[in-house]
């Protein structure tokens, strides 16, 4: 790892001004992505701004019909929170499927969303649940937030403060893990709020997380795994690598979507 200067702000405002002052500086949250990347010298930020001591950035609360989760809330907190289990149980389960216990003890929701790894789990939950990413300067709907591979709508110097999830009637996540990395080879998050049905897919798209509209249309007729029988997903625009071909990933999307719908109905 190359040397860098280290800053430990106490407030979001201080964090933002440190980011503005340190060109190419980066925020450090749980470090579960950033530190391995820096150790491999794939990133060499000259300054790190650690959010670990910023007050009020971590926490889970219900606000009206929304579940609001602070940016530095760890995966383990979301996975085990009674509030999340009551409000959107599928989200708690999803957080419990990330990596391994030690990674969940450090990794944060804000870091995962900001990183937008094409195989990460939270982007699928945000897109399917219609979340809003709240930063120090504005509110960004998930639809507009995830813009490509490791790309987001965040401007330089912008800090994610919290993420707001509207409470839905049914939601669940099904993940086919890459057995070595634990990341999603294909992960499908389904959510139903009234007649609004969304199916978001991670791990498969060559441009990152996306909505599977063909599956959404099929589920609008009836929210049942049966509705997905015979609906095929196109392999166009899907990833192919040593782990799985685009065709195999397309097939897995259908299988994971059925499992997610079955799980959502059971909740």
């Amino acid at each position: 790892m190359y040397a860098f200067s280290y800053h430990q702000p106490k407030t979001v405002r201080q964090a933002a001004s440190l980011l503005a002052k340190n060109e190419d500086g980066k925020i450090l949250a749980g470090g579960q992505t950033l530190l391995p990347t820096m150790k491999q010298r794939l990133a060499a930020p000259p300054a790190l701004i650690d959010l670990g001591k910023v007050e009020g950035l971590s926490g889970i609360e219900l606000k009206g019909r929304s579940l609001v989760i602070g940016a530095t809330t760890k995966h383990v907190q979301v996975a085990t929170s009674e509030i999340v289990k009551q409000a959107i149980p599928g989200l708690a389960e999803m957080a419990g499927m990330i990596g391994d216990p030690a990674v969940r003890n450090r990794g944060t929701i804000g870091g995962s969303v900001a990183n937008n790894d094409p195989a990460a789990d939270y982007p699928a939950a945000c897109l399917a649940l219609g979340a809003t990413i709240i930063t120090n300067t504005r509110k960004i709907p998930a639809e507009q937030f995830f813009t490509g591979l490791f790309e987001t709508a965040l401007e330089p110097g912008e800090v994610i403060v919290k993420i707001s999830f509207p409470i839905v009637s049914k939601a669940a996540y099904a993940k086919f893990r890459n057995p070595a990395s634990r990341y999603a080879m294909v992960g499908v998050f389904v959510a139903k709020r009234g007649s609004d049905i969304r199916v978001a897919v991670t791990g498969a798209g060559s441009n990152g997380v996306f909505r599977a509209t063909a599956l959404e249309e099929a589920l609008k007729k009836r929210f049942s795994p049966k509705s997905l029988e015979g609906v095929s997903v196109s392999a166009d625009g899907l990833n192919g690598d040593i782990h799985a071909s685009p065709e195999y990933r397309a097939h897995l999307i259908g299988v994971m979507a059925k499992r997610a719908v079955t799980a959502a109905i059971g909740k």
Partner: protein
Amino acid sequence: MTTISMTVNGKAVTGNVEPRTLLVQFLRENLRLTGTHVGCDTSQCGACVVHVDGAAVKSCTMLAVSCDGSNVTTIEGLANGAELHPMQAAFREHHGLQCGFCTPGMIMSAVDMVNRLGPDLDEKTIREELEGNICRCTGYHNIVKAVEAGAQAMGATGQRVAAE
């Protein structure tokens, strides 16, 4: 260089580190606590697991400066003098190790597992929870048996991590 202070295995320690010093380097190189191992250095293997403020973390994936003011427990902090911690005793009793390289991380993860989930752990839970700990020798069967027995023994003595 920055001066940091923390409590390690119940003792107050201070040291001078660069911001890029990893927690595992601080433990091994500054404090000479070499029980915590570095297996992969890429956040995969779990040989470096220690407890920071009561939670298991990969010490190769955490900066020492971020732990300023924290309470850290390493494998050296588990035994009570010459008496092994019940989880350590269970690994010995059930042959939960061969070369022993992964063992410190396995044991720290196992103790964390009991602290979070209680002493009654079934095989499936143990295997899932050990997802972040890799062993190249044993084939895991005896590790799983050791964790199950160690968890029961911890429950029987009402013991959590000594230093926490």
